[in-house]
Amino acid sequence: MVLEFTERGIYCPAGDFFIDPWRPVDRALITHGHADHARPGHARYLSTHAAAPVMRHRLGEIVIETVGYGEALRIGNATVSFHPAGHVPGSAQIRVEVAGEVWVVSGDYKVAPDGMSEPFEPVRCHAFISECTFGLPVFKWAPQDEVAAEINAWWAGNAAAGRASILGAYSLGKAQRLLSILEPDIGPILTHGAIENTNAVMRDQGLALPDTLRVTPDLDAKAHPGALVMAPPSALGSSWARRFGPASTAFASGWMRLRGVRRRRAADRGFVMSDHADWAGLNSAIRETGAERILVTHGYTEIFAKWLRSEGYDADIVATGFEGESLDASEDAEATS
């Protein structure tokens, strides 16, 4: 076995390292900086150059080595390389080759380009380890420019009616993706501190984001008419959000595809936008690896594995510490995974 599934995480015996482990280990290879993949407490980390700043920001003092996309590293008897996963800036699939057999751990991924993350690259392999957060045929994403037009129209409409637009999105990845598609001509963009901290990290590493204004206790929230306010989902409906006066609220998430979830969130609008692959994306990604063996980690695993088997794959479910299983937690956590 090139990789094994242990209580600590996905393990490579040939190289004596773990990938995205959920318990502390000596050597951890990390696909991307979200909390359920990059956890604290490992002795040594390895990630792409682009994923490291956010990991340092989140995890503090860590011992971390970085590597460029496509660069082959020899670790023990394994050859390791990182390839773009298209999930968030810096995110990677990790390719592990041992004695001619190739396995790929894809972490979280999406195949459609978002104009910001390094676009997903299919990697040929024998075994592919895949998420399936949205592994049902009801999940289909519209092209990003269509969603962008919807969001900007909502913002412009609110601005014209004298309302603030409060948009809930996870601080790392989704928030910056949204910022990158907003039309700054419509009005000022205010950000919650949690998001602005990540913005600062990403701007430092060269990502182009529009100008934003951090919401601080002494900011006169009502002095910015027609503003769009970007906040973590948990801030919506809180006293923090009330300072902006009359406002329309919205979430951006793949779960917003489902009307029941949209209504449960009690936001005015739900925009369907995810950093995970939709049904067609999962299927095409898997096909392009050429792999016969598929291991699914989190999401609608039972259904998706059954579907893959019916399509002729040797598919199984592996239990991991990755999230995105529970929907309601994942309305916030979708972004975390």
């Binding site: 049902l136 595809r257 489902l258 029941g260 209504r263 005015d268 529970s326 309601d328």
Partner: protein
């Protein structure tokens, strides 16, 4: 359909009342008569007859989407709505048309006249020319249950704004057995109302729950008390030599309760009574399960008429000698009602639900404790000078129910909910102990907070022992307090008992599974309260 779809989206995209009403009112001002008439019909619970079974719809949708049927069936509970699942799963439409709401309803009505093979191409063709939102609405028209966040009350308010008519009058006009086939926009909404529809009921007045006891209501002498019955709220209408029986849900029930026909022998034409339909024998109401056997039956076999005869226990007089009485004070209506019904013979299918005498709130509170003995579920309090309003309005009518009965039970099965509860485990089966076995005895769906449902959903996912279709058997670990209004014998249930209005009143984190109640405890409750 685009106009209707735009209306739906405006209404669906806000949780606030005023923008919803404004969107509806604008639609009612602008839409063509046929479309707005159908819109009123849909939002008041009327829909075209179902022309295609849901089984066929699923098969056709899966086939069109190029996926196996089992995969469709797995996706459905995640989405929680069949019409939506189909709309989401189909490939994008290949062409686009803009035919009105009426066109699509007529298309569906036309399907009743053709064979199933001929229906399929019509439905597939519709799917192929409707974009996702319109497709969802088209599917809703087929599958029914048009609940999209617009109550009849909200719709009526918008209609009043759009037509400059009185809301209460419109509410009254919209009652009864009209359909868009039997009336027109003009007749229903615009024309002078000659009271042409003799069967039309009045909008029901609904009480609010009294949570904190009656002391805050003021002087006891300003109030009247009655038992709160556990039957079917109904209006009996005697006009033009005919009688009609309406449920609160505006369902015509005349033929389900043939006993009430004899009311014409005792009460003059031009009378409308509001009351509770109850199974009744030996001078007192029977438990609800006797009446339950009559529900859902369009015709009633003789044996059932004998075992569970019904009467109308009347508590209000809405029309008398052809005059609308609703503006008169309750005390006056009630006195007239008592005068009308007091001298009827024993076998008349009508009685006045007795008023309960009381001098003080403490007095009444003591009486309330005896509600179960009277086969009632608590008390009703009505302000003596109150008019008969429409809908649920706070202030004049209160229901003061008994505290529910409770048992502590173990959760053993879980299933996902629908609609806004899709993808959450919200429907549970509970068990009590019989020796070392857990015997299921009730299901419950409500009573927990959203946060608790999320918590239990995460737990169910991790503690599933077996799956039976959509049902998951879970590790018996959690104890819930189940509250219910009544208990009766039921040979259809493994436990031998059935509960009335069961719900989860508390999650007993403090109790172990061993501390849950037993079947013997339930049987004892059955003996006491059944």
């Amino acid at each position: 359909m685009k106009r209707f779809a735009a209306l739906f989206q405006q209404v669906d995209q806000t949780t606030k009342i005023n923008p919803k009403v404004a969107a509806l009112a604008a639609y009612f001002r602008e839409a063509p008569d046929d479309d707005r008439l159908w819109t009123v019909a849909l939002f008041s619970g009327r829909r075209p007859r179902r022309a295609v079974t849901t089984t066929r719809l699923r098969e056709w949708a899966a086939e069109r989407a190029g996926i196996p049927l089992w995969l469709f069936e797995e996706a459905y509970p995640v989405v929680g709505d069949l019409a939506e699942t189909i709309a989401l799963i189909l490939p994008p439409n290949t062409r686009e048309t803009d035919l009105g709401l009426r066109h699509w309803i007529n298309t569906l009505r036309g399907l009743s006249d053709v064979t199933e093979e001929e229906r399929k191409p019509v439905v597939l063709d519709a799917w192929d020319q409707l974009p996702p939102v319109e497709r969802f609405l088209f599917n809703k028209l087929i599958t029914g249950g048009f609940r999209i966040g617009v109550s009849q009350k909200l719709m009526t308010r918008a209609l009043a704004q759009a037509t400059d008519r009185d809301e209460a009058e419109l509410a009254h006009r919209l009652m009864g057995d009209w359909t868009p086939e039997t009336t027109t926009w003009h007749e229903l909404i615009v024309a002078e109302d000659a009271g042409a529809n003799l069967s039309r009921p009045y909008p029901f007045y609904l009480a609010h729950q009294l949570d904190d006891g009656p002391e805050a209501l003021g002087e006891p002498s300003d109030w009247r008390a009655e038992w709160k019955w556990d039957g079917i709220r109904g209006q009996l209408i005697l006009r033009g030599g005919e009688h009609h029986v309406w449920s609160r849900g505006e369902e015509l029930m005349t033929h389900r309760f043939p006993e009430l026909a004899r009311a014409r022998d005792f009460v003059p034409d031009g009378t409308v009574l509001d009351g509770e339909i109850l199974a009744f024998a030996g001078g007192q109401p029977l438990p609800f399960n006797a009446l339950q056997k009559r529900i859902g039956r369009k015709t009633v076999p003789k044996a059932l008429l004998r075992d569970a005869p019904v009467i109308l226990y009347a508590y209000d007089l809405l029309e008398w000698q052809g005059q609308d009485m609703r503006d008169r004070p309750f005390a006056e209506r009630r006195a007239q009602l008592d005068a009308l019904l007091q001298s009827l013979p024993e076998d008349a299918p009508l009685r006045a639900s007795p008023l309960i005498e009381f001098d003080s709130w403490a007095d009444l509170a003591a009486t309330r404790q005896n509600a179960r003995d009277a086969h009632a579920e608590g008390l009703m309090l009505k302000r003596a000078r109150s008019p008969y309003l429409s809908g649920r309005k706070k202030g004049d009518w209160w229901k003061w129910k008994l505290d529910p009965l409770t048992v502590d039970a173990v959760m053993i099965y879980a299933q996902q909910g629908h609609g806004r509860r899709a993808n959450l485990f919200t429907d549970f089966t509970f068990a009590v102990w019989q020796g070392n076995d857990l015997v299921p005895f009730t299901k419950a769906y409500s009573g927990l907070t959203d946060a608790e449902f999320r918590q239990i959903t995460g737990w169910v996912r991790k503690n599933t022992q077996a799956r039976f279709g959509p049902v998951r058997q879970v590790t018996p670990e959690h104890v819930f307090e189940i509250a219910f209004e009544g208990i009766h014998e039921s040979p259809r249930h493994k436990s031998g008992v059935a509960l009335r209005f069961p719900r989860m009143s508390r999650w007993r984190h403090d109790k172990t599974v061993q501390e849950a109640n037993t079947l013997d405890d339930l049987k004892e409750m059955l003996r006491q309260y059944g």
